[in-house]
């Protein structure tokens, strides 16, 4: 039994590459291919390791046509890898079809803290229903600019994922994310279309490998 550190899944076989001093191989797993690194232990959770993996996934992404990045920490044996891929195979194949020839663009929104925290600070106590309603509103919060921005880029967007809004620690801002899957050829046009909307509280970044378009393991 051998252990692999799995970085991504793709539909085709590619020659091995060395990125950042690490040798990345492609091995067949069921009917997809996994970009793996042979190593004796998983990487430690540190900023250096995270950035290194991010760079590697980006480098592989630029060499492949369809790539599904794997979440950090996937150090598993060959048997388990086969099992997991086999179990999620339809979803993986479908996701690979979706992301082929496409990239992810990420939009982040920041906003002042919700009124809930302000209430607490002011000593107000909302009812349970009010509390739950506010929580729900906060989760689905999107700034007004999001609607205009979506209209501006709708011609480029093939698929969209929304990250529920989350509140940071006290004193920090709410944040929400919008992920767009667009054609690789449309990056410049997309970037130009988003220019008028970019502010200190609305950032656009990319192109990224389609991290947000991987199949959801909980479905």
């Amino acid at each position: 039994m051998s252990h692999f550190y799995v970085l991504a899944l793709t539909s085709r076989n590619y020659p091995s590459v060395i990125v950042d001093g690490r040798r990345i191989e492609f091995i067949k797993v069921e009917n997809v291919f996994a970009a793996i690194e042979r190593r004796a232990a998983p990487p430690a959770l540190s900023e250096t390791e995270l950035r290194s993996q991010h760079d590697i996934v980006n480098a592989i992404f630029n060499r492949t046509d369809d790539l599904l990045p794997v979440r950090f920490g996937a150090w598993i044996d060959d048997h388990e890898l086969s099992n997991v891929v086999s179990r999620q195979q339809p979803a993986i194949r479908e996701a690979l079809e979706l992301v082929r020839g496409r990239v992810q663009m990420t939009i982040r929104f920041l906003a002042p803290p919700s009124s809930e925290r302000e209430d607490q600070q002011a000593g107000n106590h909302p009812t349970g229903t009010e509390y739950l309603q506010r929580r729900r509103n906060a989760q689905h919060w999107m700034p007004d600019e999001a609607t205009s921005l979506k209209v501006a880029v709708r011609d480029f967007v093939v698929a969209e994922r929304v990250s529920p809004s989350s509140e940071g620690r006290a004193g920090s801002l709410n944040r929400a994310g919008l992920y767009h899957l667009i054609s690789r050829d449309a990056v410049t046009a997309y970037a130009t279309a988003t220019l008028p909307f970019r502010t200190a509280t609305l950032t656009v970044s990319g192109p990224w490998p389609p991290f947000a378009f991987a199949p959801d393991p909980w479905l």
């Binding site: 995270l50 979440r71 920490g73 996937a74 990056v187 970044s205 192109p207 490998p209």
Partner: protein
């Protein structure tokens, strides 16, 4: 009904248009064409997509969000069963994700 006399807009005093007479050009000498040359092969397609954010500016927020909150999860098992059999098995030992996915926001 009287017919109008056609009028010209050209003044009477305007001099007659002179026709330029050019001297005929000598027959063109045939310029020998360079031999047909094969076009250089087109450059290989650049696999890299246009970059909006330079690599060095990749923020830690993007790295964390991409690698800890997104992507295919390979090492988390979740087995739920019903029908009088209590089978709830969640193995998350190797599953990492950003803290705000697990813990409620601190008050």
């Amino acid at each position: 009904m009287s017919r109008r006399k056609p009028r010209s807009t050209v003044p009477v005093s305007r001099p007659a248009r002179q026709v330029r007479r050019s001297t005929p050009l000598p027959p063109r000498a045939k310029i020998p064409r360079p031999p047909a040359r094969a076009l250089p092969p087109p450059p290989p397609p650049r696999p890299e997509v246009a970059s909006l954010i330079p690599e060095k500016e990749t923020s830690l927020a993007d790295v964390i969000d991409n690698l800890l909150n997104r992507g295919v999860v390979l090492n988390a098992d979740l087995i739920l069963a019903l029908a009088d059999v209590d089978l709830v098995y969640v193995r998350l030992s190797a599953l990492l994700c950003a803290a705000d996915r697990i813990f409620p926001p601190r008050q």
